[in-house]
């Protein structure tokens, strides 16, 4: 895969610090456009608060729509970082090194965007702080039996954990930037580097902290999306009260996270000229993971639908046919194509497992996973038990703008981040590539050579 020699120490520094130290007009153009879209969404949200929630498409009985779809979707995307950084770190997969920070950044920003939606979809968002357990003068605490309160705790824990998991390995890189810059930039990075010197003691503490965080963040990530799935499975709605929702949602989250990561990596590789660091082997390995997750997703969907089909309960079957044959069928089959057929074909055939192939498959997955969240929520809510109260949901401009602008917000946050922090962890990359051969354990050396020359 990669026949060129590994870049030297100095070369790595130059390549990975270039985005921080040089800015072109394209950066400002991109930030302006994306910022404009995000501001439009903010204005839409403010008008929703000002004119009343009625300007959205929410109606009796479909009380959740685009906002909750986006919420679940973005929390799902956030599982990218945990998988790559934490799990691959724990199994010591060397090829993860250039990819860890890209993935962790996706996690943090996707979480921040996703966590906005429980506030955006509230009828009275200015009272969202009532979810915080504090001794209030109203003599009441949050209801800890409510899945929404579990969401609050889980998302905050995951966000804190992911943010720290992202920030800790950035400290040595901040030190590198500090040494290479001058003036105000130097002072900012001196502050950020927290006095990092690179003594063995500091390295050991950092590695221990990273190991503990990796072990802690994986169960938290699993719990977060399970708890998000509990938002559905705790309500007696046809096709919601399924015990499979927990694992189903976690698998779907990791699935969409890998897809998001692949897209981000491909864009970074092109825009920041990181061809020497993000090799086709990285995309191929992630593509294989995408294939595995597609199979897993298909397995869960099959389980869920077979059990419903066999049970033949009238209200559940009504929703079942609604998605498969009736009004939601076009969206349903698009979802199946994007989530299952496309990744299987593209990632399953070695010839197609190129960077372009990975990106196409990932785009299909992103679309498919968004549709999956939508198809879980809306068909069920619109077709519960009493026929007189069935309803059809039509999204209105305010919802479409806000849901769409999240993609712009994610891109904007990413672009700003890449400007401030090296997107590939410099010290981890060097630590992986520059191992002196004669002191390496034979098995590790064999593995390293295999990875480099496969």
């Amino acid at each position: 895969m990669s026949a060129s020699p590994s870049p030297s120490h100095g070369q790595i520094n130059t390549d990975l610090l270039r985005p921080l130290l040089k800015t072109s007009w394209k950066f400002y153009a991109v930030v302006t456009i994306l910022g404009g879209i995000v501001v439009t969404a903010l204005v839409s949200w403010l008008s929703q608060m000002f004119y009343g929630f009625g300007i959205s498409g929410i109606r009796w009985p479909v009380y959740w729509g685009f906002y909750v779809t986006s919420f679940v979707f973005w929390i799902g995307i956030s599982h990218a970082g945990t998988l790559i950084s934490a799990i691959l770190r724990l199994v010591d997969a060397g090829w993860r090194r250039p990819v860890t920070r890209c993935a962790e950044v996706i996690t943090v920003f996707a979480l921040m965007i996703g966590a906005m939606f429980p506030i955006i979809h509230l009828g009275r968002p200015w009272l969202a702080f009532w979810l915080i357990p504090y001794p209030s003068e109203r003599l009441i605490w949050p209801n800890f039996r409510s899945p929404l309160v579990w969401d609050f705790f889980a998302i905050n824990t995951y966000l804190t954990g992911s943010l720290l998991f992202l920030l800790l390995p950035m400290i040595p890189d901040f030190a590198v930037v500090r040494d290479k810059s001058t003036g105000l930039r130097r002072r900012v990075y001196t502050l950020l580097a927290l006095g990092w010197r690179g003594t063995p003691k500091q390295w050991h503490r950092l590695e221990s902290a990273m190991a503990i965080m990796a072990i802690a963040i994986v169960p938290v990530a699993v719990s977060v999306h399970t708890i998000v799935s509990f938002d559905f499975s705790m309500a007696p709605v046809p096709m919601w009260q399924s015990t499979i929702f927990g694992p189903y949602f976690v698998a779907g989250a990791i699935f969409s996270g890998i897809a998001g990561l692949l897209i981000a990596m491909a864009i970074l590789r092109r825009v920041l000229h990181l061809e020497q660091y993000l090799h086709p082997i990285h995309f191929e390995n992630l593509g294989k993971l995408l294939l595995v997750m597609a199979l897993l997703w298909g397995y869960f969907v099959f389980n869920e639908r077979l059990v419903t089909y066999y049970g033949n309960e009238p209200s559940e079957m009504a929703v079942f046919w609604r998605t498969q044959r009736e009004s939601f069928a076009p969206l349903y089959w698009t979802m199946v194509t994007g989530n299952f057929v496309l990744p299987l074909v593209i990632m399953g055939i070695k010839r197609f497992r190129t960077i372009t192939g990975c990106v196409i498959a990932s785009l299909g997955v992103v679309v498919g996973m968004w549709l999956e969240r939508f198809l879980i929520i809306v068909p069920s809510l619109g077709h519960k038990y009493l026929p007189y109260s069935y309803g059809i949901y039509r999204p209105q401009p305010v919802e479409i703008i806000i849901a769409g602008a999240t993609f712009a917000a994610m891109t904007l946050l990413y672009v700003l981040f890449v400007k401030i922090v090296p997107i590939i962890s410099i010290w981890e990359l060097k630590a992986g590539e520059h191992q002196p051969p004669d002191t390496t354990h034979p098995a590790a050396e064999e593995r390293r050579l295999r990875e480099q020359h496969s």
Partner: protein, 227 residues
Amino acid sequence: MPRWGMAVDLDRCDGCGACVTACHAENNISTVGADQASRGRAKHWIRVERYWEGEFPDVRLKFRPVMCQHCGNAPCEPVCPTYASHHTPDGLNAQVYNRCIGTRYCANACPYNVRFFDFFNPSWDKPLHLQLNPDVSLREVGVMEKCTFCVQRIKAATIQAKAEDRNIADGEIKPACAQACPAQALVFGDLDDPESAVSRLSRSSRGSKLLEDRGTKPAVTYLSRQS
């Protein structure tokens, strides 16, 4: 401690809708206009569900007034993050507007779809604002509301009975819908009093609960139509 419940005789109900109108008047429920109603924003705390079978002219119409069933195992209660939806000791499912932050989870969880969201701030064209009931609070945009079994009337009767040092008589409390029904199809009372009208009707062989197999334990019994 009484346990409030209702019996609805579907044999008597002719779908006139007087209960709906009375409920709107008693509980300060605003109408939303034809456009918003067609978009599903109407807030009929009690609604008359109308189903028809057959082709014209051999159409058979069935009416069922559906209001909050005040379930013993209410699925709307555990999911509310702020305890806005909870169960009172006298068997009512209470909705506390001041605690509600409008997550609408309770409405999704309700199998009967009897919970409604205030999509806009309510408004009454003058002089209809003079008709508002001072015993019932106005709900602002963003909160959930639903049938309360006219809790203001229950509370008033309870206070009156306590002041007069007596028990509440059967039939003393009539929610607006029961009061307005010309066919007296809606009967309200204490289910824990075996002699009350609602208890006797609940024990009728015609009686059944709506969506009983969901396990919600509703407090409303429907007496099936005979003709």
